[in-house]
Symmetry: D2
Subunit: 164 residues, 4 copies
Amino acid sequence: MSESKKQKLLNVDTSDGTDSANSKLKDEFRFSEDPSLEKIREIQAVFCRERNWDQFHTPRNVLLALVGEVGELAEIFQWKGEVDVGLPDFSQEERDHVGQEMSDILIYLVRLADRCRIDLPSAVLQKIEHNAQKYPVNKAYGNNKKYTAYAAEDAGKALPNGDQ
Amino acid sequence: MSESKKQKLLNVDTSDGTDSANSKLKDEFRFSEDPSLEKIREIQAVFCRERNWDQFHTPRNVLLALVGEVGELAEIFQWKGEVDVGLPDFSQEERDHVGQEMSDILIYLVRLADRCRIDLPSAVLQKIEHNAQKYPVNKAYGNNKKYTAYAAEDAGKALPNGDQ
Amino acid sequence: MSESKKQKLLNVDTSDGTDSANSKLKDEFRFSEDPSLEKIREIQAVFCRERNWDQFHTPRNVLLALVGEVGELAEIFQWKGEVDVGLPDFSQEERDHVGQEMSDILIYLVRLADRCRIDLPSAVLQKIEHNAQKYPVNKAYGNNKKYTAYAAEDAGKALPNGDQ
Amino acid sequence: MSESKKQKLLNVDTSDGTDSANSKLKDEFRFSEDPSLEKIREIQAVFCRERNWDQFHTPRNVLLALVGEVGELAEIFQWKGEVDVGLPDFSQEERDHVGQEMSDILIYLVRLADRCRIDLPSAVLQKIEHNAQKYPVNKAYGNNKKYTAYAAEDAGKALPNGDQ
């Protein structure tokens, strides 16, 4: 990705009160700034090295551990029926549990990227840029179809007598 | 978590050449510093708002999307047999694919935390602190047992004639 | 499991019109009788042998393939919100897709059991018997708590002034 | 599927000693014949009805429960490195655990099919037939590529000067 594109993505301006879509974000829920993905990677790398665990942390071992944690997160939600944004009907204990399982997923995902030597933050930026191209606002607005559906529609329009 | 504990975790010193375990980390693979988890959250929140997608992003919808992406990552590794650290036998195309699927997992995990109003970076710090207590170096060294196994062993020692 | 217990489980009588709970089952949706799990196992064993695929079908390879298929099933349901019994709002194409992904999961699960030399039908009978003990009707009626919650409640009752 | 095709699949002959690929199957590991998929479905339907659990068993609830069980199976394999066919290095306790988690997956998969009103055994037969067409022996022999790779190769051959 070019440096200018990267800066444009990183400096997305959400503070301009004149933008009706974005202005609502000003009072919104936010994450803490720390730790960064690199800091989590570093802490876990030291943690595993101190315990002589690198020998166990092959890519597929960590991948299966990640699958296990996703299963544990799913279990919290499994008998809930539809759940509202913000988890208003969850007890504090359940909310804490959700945070712990999400953390386990993130820790193993970061560890997996480290063991695969994949620069995860950089890969995410590229994917975000790619998604912006796949899902242009004018086509994706209020629409949960997969992007391949737009391509099919476009192909149809390009062939005025297309009988797809 | 107390502020001092948090600072201790965030300031883990890996640069001291006198520490044999940590000194090796100096030349190690690292992630890019940007984007932060909060930046990813913010970019995705704007992205979804612009497309009027918040209506689709209920917690369980995003959770199932996360499960789907974990499946796609598993598919890349499924016929590989054991895979070495750094993915030396993967083609560049496969490496890129791994980075893309990891990114999709991270994007949906961040989005899920946002929609659940869970401060993911803060939850991760707490989990890391918790893991350090569950897996003390002296018991966990070179040992991939679950922490509950230590508790059982300790219980056995506390009962000198215990026959468990 | 004793032969008599096994026969009792296999001969569960759902045809007696005097049993209010079970009588409703008479008109109910049923599966086709064929193929059996053993037949699926056998067909897949021959299929893989003819293609010289046994070399790829190590337990962890097949396990990751299973994870991939579960992800594909999840993707069909991911943007749906709550879905009713019988999938009344799914198109025929979506219903077929659901059946295909369920089939892939079953095929890989059977293959995984075969490659692990686990007698899956026998293991299922044992698990069903075990579940009947863990979830007695009088405690589990209309209750989606995990069985460990009953044990905790029982312990509480056994200690009338217990402060657990 | 036509009845003759179905019969051909169900009557796959593995007993002919003159077929070098299949003759080895004669002494092979087999599953027990019971219970059938329909019997498992029926037992679970009665089990859930007796406990008034149908109210909890919406398709997405059962799907998330299935994801949870897949996670539990993955956890047994997560620190193992590559595992041999037949699990020779697993303890009896670990083997039993594998059988239990596979059973939980099968029970929830059958329950999910029941709640979606999908005839799982019939869907599996169709999928097996479909796979036989996608992976003809002459192209798939000793080859773990996805079937789409064959199509690409065929397209390439059909266009002798194709520059794909």
